[in-house]
């Protein structure tokens, strides 16, 4: 795997706080349709636009890329480094967003959807990571990348494996994933993502002041995070639950093929179908014997 090299005089040429910010915005129409708050999609977009402007103002060399996470597809809708005319940033973003929504609708196969539906977070995470890899390979001088997910849709169970792979890939490339949850419920995926990649996970209490949250917390670049304190969740419980009963367990049986967890011994794995061998019998007598002999001695 190609690892990006930083030359010794990197910090002379590029100042410390140059950042590349990948923003993944949730454009799932069913989610935006189903929430009932003060934050409408238009207000959301205007907050995000103001935030992007402020990021670009922080440093001349900062770059911003926006990826829309749709219901059927994902696409890049804004790239600050590709712009010719700097005064038309907002317009070009909105234009591309409209085109994206049209395209997403044309791909839609469901006539109606119950509730908020799931957006393709795994797809947009992968696209962000691909863009970051391209930036890494563009040469020794590149800004330090990070990903910001503005997410509201609930977690899609079918995307688990893909999202975990994306998270591990981000961890390896040392790209933090920040998450700002604008939906009703917490997202276990993004919580894991932020925890594993040392990013920030935040679910704002007052969505009206989303802009304030964004500029206070998510605008900090990676260099400043070494000496600025940012809000952290108290603690995360990542204990496993067994696949058969969904009970939290500390000790159990794991299938060596697909790594699914069971609390009791099964003959066959229910996830991948592999047959298990004999279970190791619990030798509770042997440790007692050992203990006894040591006491005697």
């Amino acid at each position: 795997m190609y690892l990006h090299q930083v030359p010794t005089n990197f910090f002379d040429i590029f100042p410390d706080d140059v950042s590349l910010l990948m923003v993944l915005i949730d454009t799932n129409p069913f989610f935006w349709n189903s929430i009932n708050t003060s934050l409408s999609f238009s207000k959301f977009i205007s907050n995000v636009l103001a935030f992007l402007n402020s990021i670009l103002l922080l440093n001349q060399l900062n770059q911003v890329v926006v990826i829309a996470t749709g219901y059927n597809s994902c696409d890049y809708i804004f790239d600050s480094s590709a712009l010719q005319n700097h005064n038309q940033k907002g317009e070009s973003l909105l234009q591309k967003l409209e085109e994206f929504v049209d395209k997403d609708e044309s791909l839609c196969r469901d006539d109606s959807v119950d509730g908020p539906g799931f957006s393709l977070l795994s797809g947009s995470l992968s696209m962000a990571l691909c863009y970051i890899q391209k930036v890494f390979r563009s040469g020794p001088l590149h800004p330090r990348p990070r990903i910001l997910c503005l997410h509201g849709s609930p977690d899609g169970p079918g995307q688990y494996v893909a999202i975990m792979n994306a998270i591990f890939s981000a961890q390896r490339s040392m790209v933090p994933i920040d998450s700002c949850i604008i939906g009703a419920q917490h997202s276990a995926f993004l919580q894991q993502a932020s925890y594993i990649t040392s990013g920030i996970y935040l679910k704002p209490q007052l969505l009206d002041g989303l802009f304030q949250y964004l500029t206070t917390v998510f605008a900090t670049d990676l260099h400043s995070r070494s000496f600025l304190q940012l809000p952290k969740p108290v603690g995360v419980d990542f204990r496993a639950a067994c696949f058969c009963h969904k009970n939290t367990i500390d000790m159990g049986y794991i299938c060596s093929v697909c790594l699914s967890i069971f609390c009791k011994h099964h003959k066959k794995c229910s996830t991948c179908g592999s047959v298990f061998g004999q279970a190791q019998t619990q030798d509770s007598s042997t440790p007692d014997r050992k203990r006894k002999t040591s006491v005697d001695n």
């Binding site: 238009s42 103001a50 109606s112 919580q191 949250y213 969904k246």
Partner: protein, 553 residues
């Protein structure tokens, strides 16, 4: 200028303090041995003082007087100090500062002092790559030619020429002495160097032993034949493609070739340079096969002979080699395109429902986050996709029309958000140390961190010595304990300086430090409670309690 007779070591000790006041000195000695001892000692002492500063030159001199250190010991200690920065810092702080004596400082480090002596170099020395050149020293006047044979060279000769080794074992000391043996060998080498094959043959006819050296080595030839039989035919000769063996005579080696065709009777006395070179290279690459002291020639010869015999025996008994070889040949000779499809021995992985992973994990992950009543409610109703996308499009066009609003957020809301966040962040100080990701020390500025760590190690050192002198039975221990106590109480104001400096960081986000200070001072206060009680019993002095003063924020 002083001139002194230096009879004893004590005098040298007294001298060292005078030496480092500056100025030049000249010493006179009775014998060379004395001079050498003195020179070594002075060099060591100069190096020692050069590092630790000249200001307190009396103290080391006094310390040295107490101990009568040997120069080796001194050098050893100096080397240890040079290698370890932290150790040197501690040494400077305590020994030069007068808190601990040299003996006390090194008393707890006996293991370090002993350890170094027994270090043997782990590297093995390889054989020299020079071929023993037959360029003997000859002085132009007389007819004598001198050869230099060191044990290293003898070892190499035995390794390269098994016939010579065998002859040595056979002839010496029965038929001739070692000196005679080597003289004969040298004569043979000299004859070879003249490249006069006829003369060599003539001499060989006369002297039977000489003939052994002059003839070609049968053992070598047999060995070469065996090796050729064992060459692996699957060896990839791709690397040799560039080498041209056909058009370059003698592989490009320059040689003076005597062009006369000789009688077959002289053939055995002919030596080929390429053969010598190959054999030499093979021996050097093999490395040292025997690990014997090179002094005793006979034992070297025997050891080498034994090794060779063992190798031979191994080869003979290794019938598996043939089987292995044929296996390898059949494997490499396969052409992949012509092979049929092979059945995989493993079954493909088929995960029926990946959602199982998600469900099992979802249950626990969200519990600690609690129910965030953010006023966002999900209305579960069925929406048609047309409607959903339509409304989204409308909202987008709404922004395009209206643009960004001014102000972007209501100031009151913004203020509420900010104060909420501040409260959240400042409450994280109660959770410091719980996350495995963060390290409190790392969040401090580098200088402060290093300083704190150094204070910690020095306190450790002082406490070690303090507790080791308890119970206090003699006056010496009492003075030592008082000294240590004074040193320890001096650390507190030094730490205070740090905290005052860091207090001036007014950023509201930087709240991690007071907790760190609290944690750190707990380390002290635990010991200091004992310290305080004990020391107040001895001296009636009350100690300052650090934690109260620092946890202000």
């Amino acid at each position: 200028m002083y001139s002194l007779l230096v009879p004893s070591f004590c005098a040298i000790n007294k001298l060292s303090s005078a030496l480092f006041q500056g100025g030049n000195y000249i010493f006179e000695f009775d014998s060379f041995a004395d001079r050498d001892i003195c020179r070594e000692f002075v060099a060591a002492a100069i190096a020692f003082h050069g590092e630790t500063g000249k200001s307190t030159s009396e103290k080391p001199a006094a310390a040295l007087q107490d101990e009568q250190l040997s120069t080796a010991e001194m050098e050893h200690r100096i080397k240890l100090l040079q290698e370890d920065n932290e150790l040197q810092r501690l040494h400077k702080q305590f020994v030069i500062g007068g808190i601990l004596t040299e003996a006390e400082f090194w008393a707890t480090r006996k293991k370090l002092l002993d350890q170094n002596d027994r270090r043997k170099p782990k590297q093995r020395v390889a054989l020299k790559n020079e071929m023993w050149s037959v360029k003997p020293l000859s002085d132009g006047q007389s007819n004598r030619v001198t050869f230099n044979l060191t044990p290293e060279i003898i070892h190499q000769i035995f390794a390269e020429k098994p016939a010579v080794r065998q002859a040595y074992l056979k002839f010496v000391p029965n038929k001739m002495s070692e000196k005679e043996f080597w003289t004969k060998y040298s004569r043979a080498e000299y004859l070879h160097s003249t490249k006069n094959v006829v003369a060599a043959a003539a001499e060989a006819a006369e002297d039977e032993e000489l003939a052994v050296f002059l003839k070609q080595d049968d053992m070598l030839t047999n060995e070469a034949r065996r090796k050729i039989r064992r060459v692996d035919p699957t060896l990839d000769m791709e690397a040799d493609v560039g080498d041209d063996y056909m058009h370059l005579p003698d592989h490009g080696l320059l040689r003076e070739e005597s062009k006369d065709v000789l009688d077959s009777q002289y053939e055995p006395y002919r030596r080929y340079f390429s053969q010598d070179l190959n054999q030499h290279a093979a021996v050097v690459l093999q490395g040292r096969v025997v690990d014997v002291e090179l002094g005793d020639t006979r034992s070297v010869a025997e050891a080498l002979a034994r090794t060779k015999q063992a190798e031979l025996a191994n080869e003979v008994s290794d019938g598996n080699l043939e089987k292995d070889l044929s296996h390898r040949i059949s494997r490499v000779a396969e052409i992949e395109d012509l092979q049929g499809p092979r059945d995989l021995a493993v079954a493909p992985l088929c995960i029926k429902d990946p959602r199982d992973y998600f469900d099992s994990q979802q249950a626990n992950a969200l519990k600690p986050l609690g129910d965030a009543g953010s006023g966002v409610k999900t209305l579960k109703f069925n929406v048609s996709s047309v409607e959903a996308y339509g409304s989204l499009r409308e909202l987008i066009s709404e922004i395009r029309v209206t643009g960004l609003s001014e102000p972007i957020t209501d100031p009151e809301v913004a203020f509420k958000v900010l104060s909420g966040l501040t409260q959240n962040i400042s409450s994280t100080k109660y959770h410091l140390g719980k996350s495995p990701h963060e390290s409190i020390l790392d969040s401090l500025p580098k200088v402060t961190k290093e300083d704190l760590l150094h204070h910690w190690t020095s306190i450790q050192e002082l406490l070690k010595h303090f507790w080791s002198s308890y119970p206090i039975t003699t006056k010496y221990l009492y003075t030592k304990v008082t000294r240590l106590k004074d040193a320890m109480s001096q650390v507190y104001p030094k730490l205070q300086v740090h905290f005052v400096l860091l207090d001036n960081y007014n950023c509201f986000l930087y709240n991690g430090l007071p907790t760190c200070v609290y944690n750190f001072s707990c380390i002290f206060s635990l010991n200091s409670r004992k310290l305080r009680n004990l020391c107040s019993q001895i001296s009636g002095i009350k100690f300052p309690y650090l934690s109260n003063q620092c946890f202000r924020l």
